[in-house]
């Protein structure tokens, strides 16, 4: 499919050019709605994916983004929350700068400029103020997620003109200005700007363009498109009807699936797939390609369950559906017919595989390179799916007792971990983690099913909230009935949407969403309710620093890696 040239047919261009001409020499005034000096709520650094999606959406999917991004940081269980804490280091700036140069060069090359730009210069061999202003205001509006203010546009045009005049190339000038916009903080950070909430003194609410940016991140994991920015300019996003119309339009777009994938990748910790490796001597079937497919498999299942079939979120923990391709089929020991693609597979009743927890992604991600880890799997269930806080182990514990030196080889993980759970110093946390993870022990570190470990049979029984269960199917069933599972999802999605730690005011807004979601587990309904609620766009009051009990899970602390 040929990408739609997004910059050509923007109604805003003419208006922006007119504004440029009018504003020449006058004091800068904001084109954004309202006019008053905004206050910045927070600045979220674009993630790797958001950067790529934004470039693809604005300039076309064939523009290559090659470079390395600075690592994101996980806070309160989410990279999205960490995005309002990270900055740009000198190395990161160098990388952005190189990517910007490469993108600007591609966008202005002969094969792209005709499709992307709405005007052609009087002569390509020198400056053309008017055409430069048209191109730069249209690109700038999409990149900055709001119209450039007149002063900024003037500087960009002046730079383009100067370079064009000296180099004898109009497009060299455009390239220079575009590369500057691409390293501007207005592009690299989603900067939230707030205004006083009408009728509520002391409270701030996001302005229209910031609402657009927030919506686009939540629903598309990208930047607002022309229509959304136009709605912001009209003030539609401050009205329930206008907001709902845009949310519905965006959720009907194919880009919505991308947004769903982005949220679950974040919530499930899928960033850890980057650099994931297994010992190839122990797990010869595993490869980096299998790892990539494992991630894709789970995201497919989630989209199938929540978006395409609009089914209950809790069903993800018990579903017998999965998608397989020829690369991961062998690990499941299931022949796959489809060549080069994915096909639906339904597990027979009684199969050891059932739901999200028996997907390769979960099993391989939360294991050591050379062996499975009930502790890591249990910790991941607690932290990612139940929003529990698992504290770091005590520092001064003598770990020697974990191994009985007179009998150094315990054959199963259950035997090895028994001492953790019986020692009072360790038991508090290991009791939280190990019993959940031990239920998945019939899957090894590469996600393949096994009957025994070192020749000893594997016991996959467990107890959850006092009820006895067996294996992954039993665990999935137990989780699907735990209200904490739905509560956790609602909290994580909300924090993901606002991009910061939740406040007491957020909790109040979340409560009704949570009640509703507990009834039907309908993800689409939940997202829409969030995106169309006024509270979602409220900036936290400066004194609302109380953090709810969703603790950070990031950092380089203990955790048996």
């Amino acid at each position: 499919m040929k990408p739609r040239p997004p910059l050509r047919d923007l109604a805003i261009v003419a208006a922006a050019v007119a504004a440029l001409v009018m504003a020449a020499g006058s004091a800068a005034e904001s084109l954004a709605d309202g006019g008053a000096t905004p206050s910045i709520g927070e600045a979220r650094r674009l993630t790797d994916d958001q950067y790529r999606q934004t470039i693809a959406d604005i300039f076309g999917a064939d523009i290559k983004v090659s470079g390395r991004f600075e690592p994101d940081i996980r806070r309160e269980g989410l990279l999205a929350v960490g995005s309002s804490a990270v900055a740009v280091t000198p190395l990161g700036a160098e990388q952005y700068y190189m990517m910007a140069g490469s993108i600007a060069a591609q966008v202005t090359d002969e094969s792209h400029r005709r499709a992307l730009f709405a005007c052609t210069p009087g002569t390509p061999a020198g400056p053309d103020d008017r055409c430069a202003a048209q191109i730069l205001s249209a690109s700038g509006r999409l990149l900055y997620r709001r119209p450039l203010d007149p002063g900024d546009l003037r500087s960009q045009v002046a730079l383009a003109d100067a370079v064009a005049a000296k180099s004898g190339s109009f497009y060299a000038g455009i390239e220079a200005s575009l590369s500057g916009m691409l390293v501007s903080p207005e592009f690299l950070f989603v900067i939230e700007r707030g205004r006083p909430t009408p009728g509520e003194p002391g409270s701030l609410t996001l302005d229209g363009y910031s609402r657009a940016a927030e919506l686009a991140l939540l629903l598309w994991n990208s930047a607002p498109d022309d229509q959304l920015l136009a709605a912001a300019a009209r003030g539609d996003l401050g009205k329930p009807k206008g907001l709902a119309a845009q949310a519905d339009r965006m959720m009907a777009s194919p880009r919505f699936e991308r947004g769903v994938r982005a949220f679950f990748s974040d919530m499930l910790g899928f960033d850890a797939f980057q650099g994931l490796s297994k010992d190839t001597i122990i797990y010869p079937k595993f490869s980096p390609e299998v790892a990539a497919d494992a991630k894709e498999q789970t995201l497919r299942l989630i989209v199938d369950q929540l978006v395409r079939r609009n089914q209950d979120y809790r069903g993800l923990f018990t579903t017998n559906r999965t998608f397989l391709n020829r690369r991961i089929g062998p690990i499941y020991r299931i022949p796959v017919q489809a060549r080069g693609g994915w096909e639906l597979h339904e597990f027979a009743p009684g199969d050891a595989r059932s739901g999200l927890l028996t997907q390769l992604s979960f099993l391989v991600l939360y294991s050591h390179p050379g062996r499975s880890s009930p502790t890591l799997r249990g910790k991941a269930i607690r932290e990612h799916l139940l929003c529990h806080d698992v504290p770091a182990p005590p520092p001064d514990v003598n770990f020697a007792f974990v191994q009985d030196t007179s009998n150094p080889i315990f054959r199963t993980a259950r035997q090895r971990l028994a001492r953790h759970r019986s020692n009072p110093m360790c038991a508090g946390c290991h009791q939280m983690m190990d019993p959940l993870g031990l239920a998945l022990e019939d899957f090894d570190s590469s996600g393949e099913e096994r009957q025994d470990e070192n020749g000893a049979p594997i016991d996959v029984s467990g107890v959850y909230h006092g009820a006895v269960f067996s294996g992954a199917a039993g665990l999935g069933e137990a989780l699907s009935k735990d209200p904490q599972v739905t509560s956790c999802l609602v909290h994580r999605l909300y924090a993901y949407g606002v991009g910061r730690a939740l406040t007491a005011a957020d909790e109040a807004a979340i409560a009704p969403l949570e009640r509703r979601f507990d009834v039907d587990g309908a993800y689409r309904t939940l997202v829409r309710a969030m995106a169309t609620s006024e509270a979602f766009y409220r900036l936290p009051a400066p004194d609302q620093t109380t953090r709810v009990a969703l603790q950070a899970t990031g950092g380089q602390g203990e955790g048996q890696r």
Partner: protein
């Protein structure tokens, strides 16, 4: 006449001479900005070399203090460099009630003078950043951070509480960054500034002009982060300015060829090979005056290094392996400590093999080598294994074993900063606050 960037831009594009004021470089240049001033001092350099999971201190810390210390089993690989290495033992971390977050509390106290309050929040900057801000200017890269374990977040360098300086994990990427586009061989005779650089400078100067407006609008937390961003942009501007200057000659600089990417990962052979290659590139980056400050993360704090075919990592071993009742230590865990010390010896060999001025590259720098714990099995924070290597251009006494009776470990960091010419009255927090250097180590 004051030159604006724009007038310079016009000048270059019209073929006129380029003169940019770079005060930090001036000390190495004569009045024409072309030749090395006679008798100019060699640059001051600082590095950190980090390995994870410490050592068995009773097999590592020498018994004898002073010169001619005894080299114990786990330090054996550095025997040939005994005269270049000063051992600092008996320095401790006190947490003052802050949590001993394993593998986090120790390393950040050594590097920032204060233990983190939360697992991932560190009262930074780390000392390498403080030193780089003082001596790193005038080289193309204020600092470089490297790792041999393939993980960018394996880094003991931080700009501020949430801003880690990520490590270069790929030798090829590191090569491209330093010796690829923008590199100017300091020893080539002809020099022609690239006019495209001036365009880039103008672009970045336009970006920097957005600073004031954003700073006015932003709240305090974001102001700090945005300020960090603009500082980073400023560094690229400085880098471009340097690329427009004829570089000062560097007699030790021998340009290396582009390496082949090794297999990158946590398997011990990969780690060792990546470390050797990174070291080779780093040594030339230093000798060619591309940077003056570096951090080499041989392994990560929770050392994920492992042997192929093994079900457990170094870290897991440190917790699960029984202490051998005859040997009195964990043999498999210790195997990894020995590999780390061999890598450290490789590193010293590389620095010592480059002749520079009337000595070796190693003589003109200070390398601060340390770990995140002393005995990993207990996450012990006393008696850290610490070394200084290199004479720092005559400022550090090498070849000593200096033993403290439990002084705050921050004294070591303060000593390193002092040796680098920084004047810092006090460093560290609460009981880690110190104004005393390890005077025995300073010349």
């Amino acid at each position: 006449m004051t030159q604006t960037r724009r007038s310079v831009l016009h000048g270059v594009l019209q073929g006129a001479a380029v003169v940019l004021p770079i005060p930090l470089l001036d000390q190495f240049l004569d009045g024409n900005g072309a030749a090395m001033a006679s008798g100019a001092p060699l640059p001051r350099r600082f590095g950190s070399w980090f390995w994870g999971l410490g050592a068995n201190v009773d097999r590592w810390v020498p018994d004898r203090v002073g010169p001619d210390y005894d080299v114990k089993a786990e330090l054996k690989p550095i025997e040939p460099y005994k005269k270049d290495v000063t051992i600092l033992s008996g320095f401790n971390v006190e947490l003052d009630g802050r949590p001993n977050t394993p593998h986090v509390a120790g390393v950040w106290t050594l590097r920032t003078g204060s233990a983190p309050i939360r697992n991932d929040e560190v009262d930074a900057p780390s000392l390498d950043v403080i030193i780089a801000n003082a001596i790193g200017g005038g080289a193309r890269f204020r600092s470089v951070e490297l790792t041999a374990v393939g993980e960018p977040m394996a880094s003991v360098s931080r700009q501020s509480a949430s801003v880690v300086n990520p490590s270069e994990a790929s030798p090829v990427a590191f090569y491209e960054r330093v010796f690829g586009a923008g590199f100017q061989n300091p020893n080539t005779a002809d020099f022609k500034p690239d006019p495209a650089l001036m365009v880039r400078q103008s672009v970045l100067s336009g970006v920097s002009e957005q600073r004031q407006k954003l700073m006015q609008e932003a709240g305090s937390a974001d102001r700090q982060r945005l300020d960090q961003y603009f500082t980073s942009i400023r560094e690229i501007e400085d880098q471009l300015a340097l690329e427009l200057q004829k570089p000062a000659p560097a007699d030790a600089c021998a340009v290396v060829s582009k390496p082949t990417e090794p297999k990158i990962g946590q398997e011990i052979e990969s780690v060792q090979a990546t470390h050797r290659l990174m070291t080779k590139l780093l040594v030339m980056a230093l000798a060619c005056n591309q940077t003056r400050v570096f951090t080499m993360n041989y392994s990560d704090a929770t050392s994920t290094v492992r042997r192929p075919g093994s079900t457990v990592t170094h870290h897991v071993l440190s917790h699960e392996e029984p202490v051998d009742p005859v040997l009195g230590y964990q043999p498999e865990t210790t195997w990894f400590v020995q590999r780390a010390m061999e890598a450290w010896a490789d590193f010293l060999t590389a620095l010592a093999s480059v002749k520079e001025g009337d000595g070796r590259l190693l003589d003109h720098m200070l390398v601060y080598a340390h770990s995140d714990t002393s005995l990993a099995r207990l996450h012990a924070l006393n008696n850290f294994p610490i070394m200084f290597a290199g004479g720092a251009g005559g400022r550090i006494k090498t070849g000593l074993h200096i033993k403290s009776g439990g002084a705050p470990v921050t004294r070591v960091g303060l000593t390193a900063m002092t040796a680098m010419g920084l004047s810092i009255g006090k460093w560290g927090d609460k009981s880690m606050e110190t104004s005393e250097v390890v005077s025995e180590a300073l010349v």
